[in-house]
Symmetry: D2
Subunit: 135 residues, 4 copies
Amino acid sequence: MPTKEDIAAFLKAEFPQNKVTVEAVGGRGATVVHPVGMAELRPGGTVSGPVLMTTADVALYVAILGEIGMVPLAVTTSLNINFMRKPSADRDIVGVCKLLKLGKTLAVGEVSLYSRGDDQMVAHVTGTYAIPPRR
Amino acid sequence: MPTKEDIAAFLKAEFPQNKVTVEAVGGRGATVVHPVGMAELRPGGTVSGPVLMTTADVALYVAILGEIGMVPLAVTTSLNINFMRKPSADRDIVGVCKLLKLGKTLAVGEVSLYSRGDDQMVAHVTGTYAIPPRR
Amino acid sequence: MPTKEDIAAFLKAEFPQNKVTVEAVGGRGATVVHPVGMAELRPGGTVSGPVLMTTADVALYVAILGEIGMVPLAVTTSLNINFMRKPSADRDIVGVCKLLKLGKTLAVGEVSLYSRGDDQMVAHVTGTYAIPPRR
Amino acid sequence: MPTKEDIAAFLKAEFPQNKVTVEAVGGRGATVVHPVGMAELRPGGTVSGPVLMTTADVALYVAILGEIGMVPLAVTTSLNINFMRKPSADRDIVGVCKLLKLGKTLAVGEVSLYSRGDDQMVAHVTGTYAIPPRR
């Protein structure tokens, strides 16, 4: 199974515009980080919703890659997010993913999102990925 | 109530990094467009999921602003997206929002997302916004 | 393709405990009705959430059967509901489903739920069904 | 704060048609059980989706009551469910709820659903409840 470094290299090659980095992967889960700078903020001094959704989407993808190997064509089929607390404007966003199901064609996982260093969850995501058939 | 131009000016001032433009607003709805270029694509030649989620989030926000005026602190509380077809890599994303409920503290709406010029929906979003109390 | 009567007979045979009746089916949609009596009410004089979810689930199923014929093993894979207004305690619940995607293995649809005779939507559902492979 | 017995008595009085029983409550969570008999089954020998949704809805409600006391008018505002595995036809459904946020006006929680005695999750729910203002 791929290491954290393998996946980081894969993301860099396949998704050059991606800002999210991989902190940990394995055991049917992953932890990723989205840096927060001016581009991630919105009025009221908080992190924009799409940054949180992006972080969760990548966390799910990384957790799946960690289990099944590099599958560039796995695609999100649904994502549900509940925003619960205002993230800090000056802390990165950490996404912790746990896969709930890893079938042959469908994976389901949940992602807890935090402002780094704060253990109050800022948002919670459930998402599904379709896994393309293996040759 | 604000015009399309008022809302465009407001978004430019408050969300300088926003790429989404307003095509129409009013009648409890809005139509917005996200340009698609290299930064919006992902492997397989399709538009990334976060671009679709961002477009839907802005469409909801614009539809709400069109009804209640400029409220910078309205925030998304939940968003659910189903991805249904692969968007074209060479067409902009159009989001058409219809508000389903506009209460004093909560708005609910749905957004249909298309590749411009194609009437097959690429994704469908339902989202809720919390509206801050008026002074 | 099956008629409304075919589907009603199928539901009666396969789901004997089902209370939902079919009002219309076809054109990638369906309209169904859940009767409201004492068993469907909850404190505050309103219809319980599970009644609304059941109605939406059946509406989706009927709309799919209307397109692909009788498939007893089609199963719901996800359902998202937003409750928007308090349904009337003395009116039946009407569910109007529109399919958004009908693929070989997955169908996506939305359902608008009403208290009969009132055109204000009480809840909105998006759901997905997995369709078993045909022999 | 109310005990398990207080909540069971409250549910019996307020929701006489409710079949779900309370196994545990407290610590921002709850465990509830829905008995499975003929009325809960559907073709293919599995538990119907609405039974799972009902169990999750009650689990969330019980977890909230366990924290804020008896509030009959708390209402579900949204619920998202992913169905992951076929529940056993001959085992009760167990719902384990964990509250993710408990604000003054809104609570968010997740519920993991199991066939009793099997540690593979059959479905996962995220839901929100609106809490009425206290006098």
